[in-house]
Symmetry: C2
Subunit: 208 residues, 2 copies
């Protein structure tokens, strides 16, 4: 192998690519898809613009790669956190903890997914929407299990469980953007949602 005198050792492609994505996620989160230029990302990553283009062919592709990485990391964090086999409320609590801890530690990634990628002006809106549907499905099935496990609970129709899951996911998205810490946000939402669901599942409902 050649030596290059005093030149710094070559950074492997995979490492370099992750560094570029780190820089791109930060810039996209701060400025939005539309206002971000490849120049800014190159500067933030400390590399030349041609190198950015060599790795990721266009701004669209770079944005899509950022969204894919951040969505994958969030999904993986939630999946890893859920205590499978535990009672439904523990499963939900552990999943919420995983979600809020990850979003609190990855603010830029969350801003990208929630704030920018859902707007139809940006590419990758469909991937983010698909990830959201997956999460809503998971919460729907959790609520369904909880309803079936309730000893004298009423049957909860599938579409009602889905409505509750949509409400819960929306509440989680809203709290993820707040200044609450991960555990605090999870506790707030668990109190809001479960104390409510606990009543619903035993047939106590609020009526106008």
């Amino acid at each position: 192998m050649e030596t290059h005198g005093k030149r710094a050792p070559r950074v492997p492609r995979a490492v370099r690519e992750q560094q570029m994505l780190d820089a791109a996620v930060a810039v996209f989160a701060r400025r939005g898809y539309r206002a971000t230029s490849m120049d800014e990302i190159a500067v933030a990553a400390g590399v030349s613009k041609p190198l950015v283009y060599l790795y990721l062919k266009s701004k669209d592709e770079l944005f899509a790669a950022c969204v894919r990485r951040e969505a994958g990391a969030l999904s993986a964090a939630v999946r890893a956190a859920v205590e499978t086999g535990a009672p439904p409320d523990r499963q939900l609590w552990s999943g919420l903890l995983g979600f809020f801890r990850h979003t609190a530690e990855h603010r830029d990634g969350w801003t990208l997914l929630h704030g920018h990628a859902r707007s139809s002006g940006a590419p990758s809106g469909e991937e983010v929407a698909a990830m959201r549907v997956e999460i809503v499905d998971f919460v729907t099935s959790l609520i369904g299990s909880a309803a079936r496990a309730a000893p004298c609970g009423p049957r909860l129709p599938e579409d009602e469980a889905r409505g509750l899951a949509l409400a819960l996911v929306g509440a989680a998205e809203s709290l993820a953007g707040s200044s609450l810490g991960g555990r605090e946000a999870a506790a707030t939402l668990m109190n809001f949602a479960w104390a409510g669901l606990g009543n619903l599942l035993t047939g106590v409902t609020w009526a106008p």
Copy 2:
């Protein structure tokens, strides 16, 4: 006053402007800020492009006018719906009904506010954010009143009330995008939120 032979009677400026905004809201909702052109809006409104520019000087300004109109209409609908002076749960229920009925009847306006205007790529993000803060403040004060009114309820610190309000507003936003009708969405959320809050306010909380 001159006559113009068979020419159609002139449409007053205010009416014409509302027609343009109607068309613009529909096109922006479908295509997003970035992909929409002034040409498409002129075609949808059935007027010439110079006329659109005469009334609203740029795409940015047109988008901002759409957001302002839709945000104002939504705020007004919620305010008009709230039964001021009623018990807190009735106030919340009536406000939610107003919110969900309005968003169900103005799908394009809601898509504009929730789906597009919040992305930092689009102008008017700050106005939409300000409207949201106003709504969160209102719900926070409602929860605060409910807590104070509960006979043997615990003191609910302001920041906890705000966390619950954020969760509730996020849940409402999520359900507004669903296929549920206005009353159905309001009932789903009221069951989710109030049966939960009812417990919280009397000190019954879920703990891990």
